[in-house]
Amino acid sequence: MNSPPQTRSMWLPGGAASVDAQGRPVLVGGECRACHTRMFPKTTVCCACMSEDVADAPLPSEGTLYSFTQVHVGPAQWNKPLVVGYVDLPDGVRLFSHLRNSAALAIGGPVHLTLGQVGTSAEGEAITTFMFAAGEQPQ
């Protein structure tokens, strides 16, 4: 797997996101081999049972938007307004994510994984990370 283009490693620690051969983003969470708890991002120790036997677990790239908000304030590095929300994946993982701003975003609606620039660092570098966008994954 390759690194996403222009991605600052501080935003995606531990290989939590990457892109596949077709250039599509992939999120990699963890699954505890002892108790099967799934998590994102993957951690070195299981949050449920303390086992250190945690395997990579590629996550589904489609989910349901639990809630979201458009934010007009906050740290200088983010583009404003920024849209963020909680995405529920079908495997039980909920993750907090940037969202692509769109009138089609709706609570309970489908969202799919993509990449996008969400800000600019103090050094002038583009901050690109995974994000979710309204609708199902384009085929």
């Binding site: 949050c47 979201f68 908000t69 304030v73 906050g74 740290p75 909680y86 039980g92 909920r94 940037h98």
Partner: protein, 380 residues
Amino acid sequence: MSTAYVIGIGMVPFGKFPQRTVVDLAWPAVKAAITDSGIDPRKIEAAFCGTTFGGMMTGQRVLGHIGLSGIPVTNIENACSSSSTALRQAVTAVRAGQHDVVLVLGVEKLTKFGGGVLPLELEDWDVSQGMMMPALYAMRAQRYMHDYELTPEQLAGVSVKNRKNGALNPDAQMREPVTVEQVLASRPVADPFTLLQCCPTGDGAAALLVASEKVAAQLGNRAIKVLASDLTSGRYTPGYRDMTIPEITVRGAHEAYEEAGLGPDEIDVAEVHDAFSIAELLYYEAFGFCGRGEAGRMISEGETAIGGRIPVNPSGGLLAKGHPIGATGAAQAVEIVRQLRGEAGARQVESARIGLSHATGGGITGFDHGACAIHIFARA
């Protein structure tokens, strides 16, 4: 276990005081609490100081400044629950018979950050992805408005009520009443919140003296009894959870009611953690002041206004009194003690006998909140 009492209270008006040091913000609150109690400061056996950004040895710096040194001092960081946690530690020490008189102090100086949203821990995953407190509460509000009947006007009504109360409180940071129209027309912060639905940034300090029954008895009937002193932390829930139910507060409320041997119907006045407008509404339900989905109706019908069925945040709450985070829990307790003593002036809740204070906070990945401290007090 023996009973603990609050025998002295003090606070400084909350506001923006960038020119004052943390020490200069805090010592007048401590001195006021000692003066209020009438006890000899040499009787103070220990101190617990709550602060989040006050820096190393905040308690020793403040107390050393006014000649209260050489006693055990414990500094406590628990985000917005820092000084309510300090109060809980003081109550625990007195109930256990470890000390007869314990000082509780809460202090914060947020103007040192120069404004903007509260800085969160950058090591935290969600924070690294753009989480901030207004966004967290806004997502709760959005989901609540999706699941239940709640209009933007009802949400704004929380700010209108609390600013009206704050106008009656000389210690409040925001002393101008506002209308629903003004609230909704103020600049957007995190949808659905406008600026007037977010607590202001500010500085402040508050202090209390907690004492044993033996000491309280010598002071006549001004002492306020502590019926419950509950601290809990969030349950780490990395998967799905219902953001319209503040689980940490629901659990804490249950524990506190059980400890006090009473229920929501017996609470005459409450100070709850209204960091943002939606929060107060979620806490009406969490404390059982109304049923699920009824909070909007409750604010509309004035049930939580001063003079209503169960007045909430007569001090103005965090939205109007201000929220210098480490000072908040202690200041809520100060307000409840004032209300129970009948010393709350223009914002007095009539014949208040039992009061509750609630401070919760800490935005970290996987938790509803990091910490929650709830106290229930009664007129002796």
